[in-house]
Symmetry: C2
Subunit: 210 residues, 2 copies
DNA sequence: TGTAATATTTACCAGACGGTAAAAAAATGC
DNA sequence: GCATTTTTTTACCGTCTGGTAAATATTACA
């Protein structure tokens, strides 16, 4: 068999497990920074302390690697949205969702940037995933609408509400260099996520009116 | 002289002006969709109805083209922020700024995506510009702080306020495919920018509290 | 209309890229 | 310790890419 991953259910050896993990980790690093076409297999191989042919022994192609990364990503990415509880207190559900998304930007910035790269470049590889995404968002938009009807939330477009939460939270991962450049060395510590959370809490609940 | 652009102040011929414009326009299209390394000179040349050597007669290198695009971009990009008037009515100044940024996303999505690509990939070419950006943001953050002190605005972090406006507005350009996929064909018309503006107006002024 | 300057084409090149074949080396199981 | 499987290395290949040299065609202007 040419490739260990193509074996259907055969148990993986220790070396396989280690190397596949190492490769995927390097690939995430490289792809998230340079995008797919901007990355080279050699870069990923070098970061994995491996020769290019050796890497291609574990994964058939560059394309195969990013496919796996994307599949792993989307599930994790949608989890915070799934966790929104229709029976919870609306304002605090929104708030928790925002916080969960912000934590993802803090803890998984590479995943965020990989996804951003894909979308930015026209999402050629995530068409199916976008369909799933729409389904889930439609569902949650209905929940939000029901909250508004019940008078628990200000009247607003639920889709754009969700967009704004995505945008504001992912910004801290995707535009990290810009955020750091603007905040300067003093304010760029890990505390910036706390500051962001505090600001967004206030914005989403009370707005800017004094 | 090998290249018409390298001539210091010599007046440009009609053909030069036309072709340079055509090339820069194609380059913006290509770079904004594929990023720098993901784009090829041939792509840009083809889109300009030109051979690659002919294109390189007008611009010395691929790098030179993106440099010019970036220089043109930043100025335009910071304009809405510059226009914030310290003597205006705070809430409506914020609102106008948000609207101006949203209009830029609507009218110049390629510029937005080009910039996003640069930042996402570590901003290797925009270090100087980020310094200018910081200066301007520091200045406007002070204005916002003075508004808060005067009791004209809710107490909040001015930097994160600016970040949130950038994020929410640029989202509609940078993540356009995702926005369209989620909204579906019916809601994806040009009217989505009006819907977004309405939502953001309400969010930034009143928040979500019913 | 002739001529100098500008613009375009043709034919390349050297290096990087994704990927393969096959042999050598290392690990595994008996 | 030996045979089998797994892993790694070496040596490639065809294609694409950014860029160049030089010849040709076109334009502008006196």
């Amino acid at each position: 068999m040419s490739n260990p991953r193509s074996a259907k259910t055969k148990k993986r050896t220790r070396i396989q497990q280690e190397n596949e993990l190492k490769i995927l980790n390097s690939a995430l690093e490289v792809f998230s920074q340079h995008g797919f076409r901007g990355s080279t297999v050699d870069q990923i191989a070098e970061m994995s302390d491996m020769s290019k042919p050796n890497l291609l022994y574990y994964f058939n192609s560059k394309e195969a690697i990013i496919r796996i990364l994307i599949d792993q990503l989307l599930d994790k990415w949608l989890d915070p949205l799934r966790k929104i509880n229709p029976d919870g207190e609306p304002l605090s559900e929104i708030q928790s969702y925002m916080r969960r998304k912000l934590e993802m930007s803090r803890d998984f910035p590479r995943e965020s940037r990989l996804f951003a790269n894909e979308i930015l470049q026209g999402a050629p590889r995530v068409q199916d995933e976008l369909r799933d995404l729409k389904k889930l968002v439609d569902e949650k938009a209905q929940v939000i609408t029901s909250w508004i009807r019940a008078g628990k939330l200000a009247k607003c477009d639920p889709y754009h509400l969700i967009f704004s939460i995505w945008a504001t939270t992912q910004h801290y991962a995707d535009f990290d260099v810009q955020v750091k450049a603007v905040l300067g060395p003093k304010l760029s510590g890990p505390g910036r996520f706390e500051d962001a959370a505090r600001f967004l809490d206030h914005l989403y609940i009370n707005g800017l009116k004094p």
